[in-house]
């Protein structure tokens, strides 16, 4: 690998840009592929397909084997509600290499003391979400139980490309939430995208266990998209 190729890869990763590196295994010849622009040839097209699946791997091209290494930006997790569950959830998500933002206009909740080192926003959730680059690699989870905070976040998330939208709350709370969102103009089909009650059913009780169930559900959704 040329030093300039390494530098370009490190810079792209630091900036969260989608990029792929194609390497010919026979001799190490290499080519960087910008995944944000339409592919210019067959190798580029294969790289774009692999990026959607988030799957690096070898491809055969004119009798030669190229390895496509896909460098997708990290998964983004937006947590609405700086509540107790958000504390272990933000820590665990950071351990997984995800980019975490916690939104809560209630400054007593969204404090540096409660969330050391976590990116916090005290804007209203819909405004805060509009200020974040929500992509097809972003998950949005609402945890406040308060329609005043959760609903604007969910409405914004439903209009975004987020691959996962989850809302904490009992089945009864969730049914009432769906009624409100339907009244706000979202179709029942679109509302199916909301995972509610959020998380895999693993009998979680403590905030940390609930965080595990939420993360497991998000990972399942992330990897299901690749299958």
């Amino acid at each position: 690998m040329r030093p300039e190729t390494l530098k370009a890869l490190v810079a792209a990763r630091a900036e969260g840009r989608e990029i792929a590196l194609a390497t010919r295994l026979a001799d190490g010849a290499e080519r960087l592929i910008d995944l944000t622009v339409p592919p210019s040839d067959e190798l580029g097209a294969k790289a774009v397909g692999a990026a959607v699946r988030d799957e690096s791997g070898p491809v055969e091209l004119q009798g030669e084997t190229w390895f496509l290494n896909i460098f997708n930006p990290p998964v983004g997790l937006v947590i609405v509600g700086a509540v107790h569950i958000a504390q272990p959830l933000s820590r665990m998500a950071a351990t997984m290499g995800w980019t975490v933002t916690v939104i809560d206009p209630r400054t007593a909740f969204a404090s540096e003391a409660r969330f050391p080192g976590v990116a916090l926003s005290t804007e209203w959730p819909d405004e805060a979400l509009q200020g974040i680059a929500v992509t097809s690699r972003t998950a949005v989870v609402t945890l406040t139980h308060d329609p005043k905070l959760d609903d604007p976040a969910l409405r914004t998330a439903l209009e975004s490309r987020a691959f996962y939208i989850g809302a904490l709350g009992s089945k009864k709370t969730h049914a009432a939430r769906l009624e409100r969102l339907e009244a706000a103009g979202f179709t029942p089909a679109r509302l199916m995208a909301i995972h509610g009650p959020v998380g895999l059913a693993i009998g979680a009780r403590t905030p940390a266990e609930i965080a595990v169930s939420i993360l497991a559900d998000i990972v399942r959704a992330l990897r299901a998209a690749a299958r």
Binding site: M1, R2, P3, L6, K7, L9, V10, R13, T23, L25, D27, G28, D54, E55, S56, G57, P58, F67, N69, I70, F71, N72, P74, M96, G97
Partner: protein, 105 residues
């Protein structure tokens, strides 16, 4: 998929003037411990960061990487249950992997 800091460490070593090689999992079969794209950065003293397996073959890969730093040639190493050397170094999961090793620079 590339959630470790192998590339960043490789760049840091390079900036220090060290010889550096990069090992990348390029193909897997069966229950391989790390997916294709996983990387290990190795310097000329044999220090390494990242992983290409669950720790089963890093030692052998690091030794080959130091060889690559010396001769500048790329190589693809195969490990698996059918491979005698893999038996020695113990890819205990029963998976098979190919690892591409290249010098940087």
């Amino acid at each position: 998929m590339n959630d470790d800091r192998a590339l960043e460490q490789a760049a840091a070593w390079l900036a220090e003037g060290r010889g550096v090689a990069l090992a990348t999992v390029v193909k897997t079969w069966g229950s391989a411990p790390r997916p294709a794209g996983s990387q290990l950065a190795i310097n000329d003293e044999g220090a390494f960061v990242g992983s290409v397996s669950g720790g089963c073959i890093e030692g052998v890969v690091a030794a080959e990487a130091r060889e690559a730093i010396r001769d500048g040639k790329v190589r693809t190493l195969s490990f698996g249950v059918s491979n005698e050397r893999a038996w020695e170094v113990g890819l205990a999961c029963g998976g098979q992997i190919d690892v591409f090793v290249e010098r940087i620079g």
